[in-house]
Symmetry: C2
Subunit: 797 residues, 2 copies
């Protein structure tokens, strides 16, 4: 039984303006580099020219002697403190991210240094310079003399796993790495019931291997930091980050400073997409400030951002599926070989999503999921929108179409039959998370029930919108005539999460001003998504206010309460729930103050349109008057902080459909139309949600068709910028249709789930499945480039 929306909304569900909208469109918005400080120096990094090398000698004397150079830092100048950079990073050698009810923490690799005497990928940090101008800093970089001992490099996980491969993390004190001697960073191997028995029961077993390539966030705003000591001699770090509190903690470890001496401020952000979900350059910029006691600005250029920042994990995924003739799945197995790149970062957790955000979407009693994440001498794979899910979605959704073909069903009919529904349970995720908490007690169910699910309607409405039945038939006829331009329509189903269960943490503080306006302090980092607006809508809805009555504070670790950050589609669900709780506490306080003023019991009062009104409707007082009374007569500051951690991560669902044309002479794919039908619960702000979908589809189509980070045989990056790392532009986009299938998630604020990530997962499998219809052969590797299409058609070696 699902909860249903029982109320009419005032602000929720409305296309209200973004709280930062006017400033964005007038150019008034200030990003990190718009906060210059007096006497600020420019920071620059020297990157390694080698994929794997030890620094034998480094001589900075000429660089230091250059006029205008204030600091040159190498591994010789900083403590060799190892630390983690990924989400589950630590302080004081105790891993903070412990799931509720668990004593044993989930480790994150302690394999990262501020600066090291070893470099592990081309572009890895060798030295940092702070100088008075960019020109001087660049000149200083050229004056640094480095003598390298070049080591053999592993450029694929397969190479890294070979016996005799160079050990990438041979430092003796590396911690929380699964098997450093064999370059294995992390891994998981879990089963639900008995997959082997499942395969034995199947009428058909289908097995294929799929490959998802390395792509990059390519967010508009580059990684940038401004650091300085303030007048209290505290280190202030203004940075373009999704995780201000994690950066604060990680900086403390890296610099050996107490957390209380560091203040991290996140101004407006020009895109994150996961690339800013860890400390990236904040530590080295801050180290330059520590060394010079001067403000320093360090901003990566696009080449550095593409290579020395983070990227999506490349994965080779083998799917093995047992199915009965009627479409019933008997077993589903996913085995992923994951490329971590040079440092562990998010590698213990990203690939968990690959399985648990995909496999539970299909009703199947026996499931096996396994991954190994392996170090290579290539850039660091980190968090990226979808967080491991897109790679798994590509594999499983292509695989399901192969299964469909094997048993002669229609892909839509198959999915209507086999995908989960409300009341089903996700049995895999608790295994992966090893949640042995409350609900793991004997006799209790350790699976996660799905409380809201609009997937069936997503499939149906999406199929209707793309014209599935007609096109599927028409294109079969069209292609049968063997034209140069073939046509195909493909689809896929998707699921994701709403935050990370029992991990993601949000707090919200609300302060009532004397005029009835509110100051809203949330740790949630709006990274351009409109998160601040959506949370303000939730608060406004709760209190009968308008957005204009609420000032939302930019995240500042000194001022806002703790929040684990903006990632995992968590802001609206997790931070929104915290804000809702805080708003309800504020409401209670307001009604408590108003009650004697109106002579009406608190229980018989409610907030409506800036007034406290009696449910009888006969008494009313303005919120302004109540606020003035509280401030100046009762002399109380009404202010509440509320906390939210979710025991579950309610999945949003979606079906996506692609209608394509393929030129069989050039191998070029053109996506003609693309439909996204999405169940993200209640949609708080339709325009912002639709913007999320448009952006995600563009990013997903990039992964499907044109994006790939490429390297030469020495591990040197071949993409130098956005000229040769291609992104979808408005002009190349297909016609987009977005349908929100609204359900009401009972655990979400006003029924919401998440929307930010799920639409990025589907373009690759939907297009790949359409391609299969168009050309009759499967392309198993991404991107679906002209070369691969021609190769699949046998027209190219």
């Amino acid at each position: 039984m699902s909860a249903a929306r029982t109320q009419e909304f005032r602000v929720v569900g409305k296309d209200v303006w973004r709280v930062d909208g006017r400033q964005l469109v007038t150019g008034a918005t200030a990003f990190t580099v718009d906060y210059p400080q007096r006497d600020m120096l420019v920071g620059k990094l020297l990157g390694s020219p080698h994929a794997h090398a030890r620094i034998r000698r480094i001589d900075c004397s000429k660089a230091k002697a250059l006029a205008g150079v204030h600091a040159v830092l190498t591994y010789e100048d900083v403590p060799k403190t190892r630390g983690p950079i990924g989400r589950r990073a630590d302080l004081f050698n105790r891993v903070p991210y412990t799931r509720a009810g668990q004593d044993h923490p989930e480790p994150s690799p302690w394999d990262y240094f501020l600066l090291d005497d070893k470099v592990r990928f081309v572009g890895d940090r060798v030295a940092a310079v702070a100088a008075e101008t960019t020109e001087i800093a660049n000149a200083a970089l050229r004056l640094i003399e480095v003598e390298y001992e070049v080591l053999s490099a592993a450029l694929t996980p397969e190479q890294a796993l070979e016996s005799g491969a160079a050990v990438i993390h041979d430092e003796p004190d590396v911690l929380h790495v699964k098997d450093p001697q064999h370059n294995t960073c992390s891994g998981v191997d879990v089963t639900v019931r008995d997959p082997e028995a499942g395969f034995a029961q199947a009428d058909t077993v289908v097995e294929h291997t799929y490959y998802a390539q390395r792509v990059q966030h390519a967010q508009m705003e580059l990684h940038a930091v401004v650091s300085y000591f303030d007048e209290h001699e505290r280190l202030v770090v203004i940075c373009s980050t999704q995780v201000p509190f994690h950066v604060r903690r990680q900086l403390a470890t890296a610099l050996g400073l107490p957390v209380g001496k560091i203040r991290v401020i996140k101004p407006r952000i020009g895109g994150g997409f996961g690339g800013k979900q860890e400390m990236v350059i904040e530590d080295i910029c801050a180290a330059l400030t520590v060394a010079t006691h001067r403000p320093v600005c360090l901003e990566l250029d696009r080449f550095e951002d593409l290579t020395a920042a983070r990227s999506r994990h490349p994965m080779r995924i083998t799917m093995k599926t047992g199915v009965k003739r009627d479409g019933t799945l008997t077993a589903n197995e996913m085995v992923a070989l994951v490329e971590a790149g040079a440092y562990g970062s998010h590698s213990p957790t990203v690939p968990t999503n690959t399985g648990n955000k995909n496999l539970p979407r299909y009703r199947c009693p026996n499931v096996h999921y396994k991954f190994d994440a392996v170090y290579t001498n290539l850039p660091i794979a980190g968090a990226m929108r979808g967080y491991g899910t897109p790679q798994g979605a590509f594999a499983i959704e292509c695989q399901m179409d192969e299964v469909v073909e094997a048993i002669g069903m229609d892909p839509v009919d198959f999915r209507l039959k086999t995908t989960v529904r409300e009341g089903d349970c996700d049995e895999l995720s608790p295994h992966i998370y090893e949640v042995e908490a409350q609900n793991a007690d004997e006799g209790e169910d350790s699976s996660w029930p799905i409380a809201s699910c609009g997937l069936e309607a997503c499939i149906q409405r999406g199929a209707a919108a793309i014209g599935w039945e007609q096109k599927r038939k028409a294109y079969a006829l069209h292609n049968a005539a063997d034209p140069v331009v073939r046509k195909g329509v493909g689809m896929c189903c998707l699921s994701q999460g709403s935050g990370v269960a029992s991990i993601d943490t949000a707090n919200a503080t609300i302060k009532l001003n004397e005029d009835g306006s509110l100051s809203l302090f949330i740790g949630a980092a709006d990274i351009g998504t409109g998160g601040d607006t959506v949370i303000a809508q939730i608060v406004a809805e709760t209190l009968g206010l308008d957005l204009e009555d609420i000032v939302v504070y930019t995240t500042d670790t000194d001022i806002v309460p703790f929040d684990s950050g903006a990632y995992a589609s968590s802001t609206t669900y997790v931070s929104g729930n915290a804000a809702l709780k805080a708003a309800e506490e504020i409401k209670d306080s307001i009604l408590e103050v108003a009650s004697p003023l109106l002579g009406v019991d608190q229980e018989a009062l409610r907030l409506k349109d800036h007034h406290v009104v009696s449910t009888q409707g006969d008494k009313r007082i303005s919120l302004k008057a109540v606020s003035m009374h509280a401030a100046y007569v009762l002399k109380e500051q009404i202010e509440h902080t509320a906390n939210f951690v979710s025991p579950v991560s309610p999945p949003p669902f979606a079906a996506q459909f692609a209608d394509i044309e393929v030129d069989t002479e050039t191998g070029q794919i053109r996506v003609v139309a693309f439909v996204s039908a999405i169940d993200a619960g209640t949609i708080i702000n339709p325009k912002l949600a639709a913007g999320q979908v448009d952006g995600a589809v563009s990013m997903g189509l990039g992964q499907a068709l044109i994006e790939e980070m490429a390297f030469d045989d020495k591990g040197r990056p071949l993409n130098r910028g956005l000229v040769d790392y291609k992104l979808f532009k408005a002009k190349g986009m297909p016609k987009l249709t977005t349908i929100f299938v609204e359900t009401y998630e009972p655990t979400g604020p006003f029924g919401v789930k998440a929307v930010a990530e799920i639409p990025v997962n589907g373009p690759a499998p939907a297009v790949a499945n359409a391609l299969k219809q168009a050309i009759g052969v499967r392309v198993f590797d991404l991107p679906l480039s002209p070369e691969r299409v021609l190769r699949a058609l046998g027209k190219m070696d």
Copy 2:
């Protein structure tokens, strides 16, 4: 029965470094003008050349045409919104300062305009300019053509009260002014029991009239404002103020903006002394920003600061005292004619202190206090350290010496006999405050009991320190020989308050960081006193921490909880109590988290030296570990906001003693030694408290001897700066001795009362009383200038 200190302190009572000390001595501290904004304009004001005039015509066309001028504002450009500027100011036409339990608010004069077509004193605002440089702004001021209709001016209260005097506030909509047609701003007339009967019972009735002159704060940092619109299009006003929240509210009224759109930030402040206890130039600077949409910096120069800012209320006070031969007082009457200056500002409240912080110090059954505050065409009298008390102290303490002389007692013996002691009650203050609250119910005592009083010890220890008995006798002998240089020793007793009872409001928010450090948000505005340090000491003491563990936030109305501001010696007592409560709530939360970790009941745990320890002493865990557990395992932001409003204002007490020499040929007084013996309860930080006393004595000696704001017969100021407005410098100061007589005030945090104001009250009467011994005649008017001394000696007309 007094409470006593029952604990040993760790941080309280220690000379710990100021939290802002290192920055102050290294010059790193940022004051208002150290926050320049990009594209900032310079603001300048055109002051009136006439004491009283109507603007008949004003032509700004030439000024506006000058290149680099961005705005010229006159009364024609801004709404004529009247508003109040004093402490008890209002918003929305409802006066906010209502005493607890009272429905009727205390009004403040609504007699002030952003700009008006009438000027009421020389220097009153005529126009404001915003330009690209100071030079251009000054040139623009010279180009403004004004045609005045000069009106007759009242330069003394007596002139203003004469029938036929020009009405200074003849605007029709003036509000909360006692009798505008007769230039009377405010007044009070209260009695305790029957003064006339008291005089009838007396053996002797002594009556004299005393005069305390107009002096100025002359704080180091001039009035300064930087205003701008931030990237959220909110008006940010950085200003050197004592009352950020009041300024925010008053700005809202003046500019017609909602409170929620205004953010007031108080950086470090270079002295306030009451001169920054109201909106002074914040409104006009902000109006220039509104007009130009550009940042504007407006800083008064010393001449403007001396004349167009605020000053102490000049008062002519008649004392009439009935006394019995044994020194028993039978009636005490104080009648004050108070000069308000051109606007009402703090005039309804400053003169209440004149009576109620002085008369209750003497045991006397019958008391009468009356004042009238009268408008004149001279600068605005506002709040100033002591807030009306020094003028009353001068009158009553000189008067008591006259009484002593009349009955032939020793001044010290008389005061030991007649001043109040612990357990006595202040019967007058509740009358003046008209507190009809809780304790005014029938049968209950409506007086304020004195819960701690070290006055007897102050008198005794101060007398011993100055060498009272010996000197009094020796100087009598010395003077009897009629030498050119005469000698005298004089003394006085003092009392003050600790905040304003049932009005002053403080809130404190404390946020626990994951490393066990704290963020402390207090609205209390440290104006250079060290208030931030003292409150941090209170929090550190409560939580077993050091000052280094606490970051205290500069007041920012967006971020810190509401506080009525820094004045009335309230910070340590009122804001300290709020901080103590918040710290205790944080302590409870910490112990609650630690209890299951240690397996010890919460009640059996306490905080000590950065650890939670069991009272048995057998279990301990570091605060860091507890904080990490709260943040990452329980995932809770421990944060509390606590509120404090005091029903009483426990008086600190003091006795001050002056040892002087008088040159009877020049009339010059030299203060040789000065002793302050002060009961301010527990002293939290002895060095800071002693600094407060030294500064106050220097200020009090200025009022006693050399400071006076003087005007010519057109009301034009004669003091142009600190060359002709003399202040005491280190070189001219006497030997200072400060003795803290520590009592334990049960209502104060760790037993504190207040220290900031009381020592400013005594130098004038102590020196005047010493002068009486030295020259044998009384000088009734301040300052005790050479001219007045010579006149008293009959050597000058």
